[in-house]
């Protein structure tokens, strides 16, 4: 079974603190994603990584950065936490859906259990 783990289930931080959220997957997936989930807004993509050291901004990257030094690990960094970053953060991983521009599969994203971050 695919397993995606996140370093903390609950986290409380103060405004201005630097926050690290860690995600590890054990299925050798190339793709990894960070989302935030807020009521009524569904899941919004913060950053996406398709390979080690490769990243793309998602829909809401402002205030966040990411790091992917190893294939299995994808970190989300809040350089200076603010109260509007209080949210549920979800990490996901998947195999690529295309190879050399050709669609090879419509792939499942496998999610971790989430980290509920509160910034005071």
């Amino acid at each position: 079974d695919v397993k995606v783990t996140q370093s903390s289930r609950y986290l409380v931080k103060r405004t201005g603190e630097k926050v690290f959220l860690e995600c590890v997957q054990d299925m050798d997936h190339e793709n990894m994603f960070w989302y935030r989930q807020d009521p009524g807004l569904g899941l919004r993509l913060i950053y996406f990584s398709y390979d080690v050291k490769m990243k793309e901004k998602g829909d809401i990257p402002e205030g966040y950065s990411v790091s992917r030094e190893k294939k299995e690990r994808f970190s989300l960094i809040l350089e200076s936490a603010s109260t509007n970053q209080t949210s549920m953060y979800l990490c996901a991983s998947s195999f690529p859906s295309t190879l050399a521009g050709v669609l090879i599969r419509t792939d499942t994203q496998y999610f971790g259990p989430g980290t509920r971050l509160t910034v005071l």
Binding site: F33, G40, G42, L43, L90, L103, T106, Q109, G114
Partner: protein, 111 residues
């Protein structure tokens, strides 16, 4: 910009009733996925539909992809308390590894 709108946002019904959840967009997707998220967990894939007009059944759940591949519906027959959760649709585009998630429908089945 939220490209996938789900309705209703909240739905609370009695056990045994039927219900339909809708996922609508003005954009075309190459495939559409439905996920269910239970409290304290991440979303889990239920089904993927890839062909316009496609209907897939998963026990009491019926998923349909619109003919124009812009919308989808999820119909649950004889709802059970175990169906309680947040249902999310997600659209995929050819050549794009990212999914666009819907706004979500929170379903509560009352025993």
């Amino acid at each position: 910009t939220q490209l996938l709108e789900q309705s209703p946002q909240f739905l609370s019904i009695q056990e045994g009733e039927n219900l339909t959840v809708y996922c609508n967009s003005s954009s075309v997707f190459s495939s559409l996925q439905w996920y269910r998220q239970e409290p304290g967990e991440g979303p889990v894939l239920l089904v993927t539909v890839v062909t316009g007009g496609e209907v897939k059944k998963l026990k009491r759940l019926t998923f349909q992809f619109g003919d124009a591949r812009k919308d989808s519906s999820l119909h649950i027959t004889a709802a059970q308390p175990g169906d309680t959760g947040l249902y999310l649709c997600a659209g995929a585009r050819l050549g794009n590894e990212k999914l666009t998630f819907g706004t979500g429908t929170r379903l509560t089945i009352i025993p």
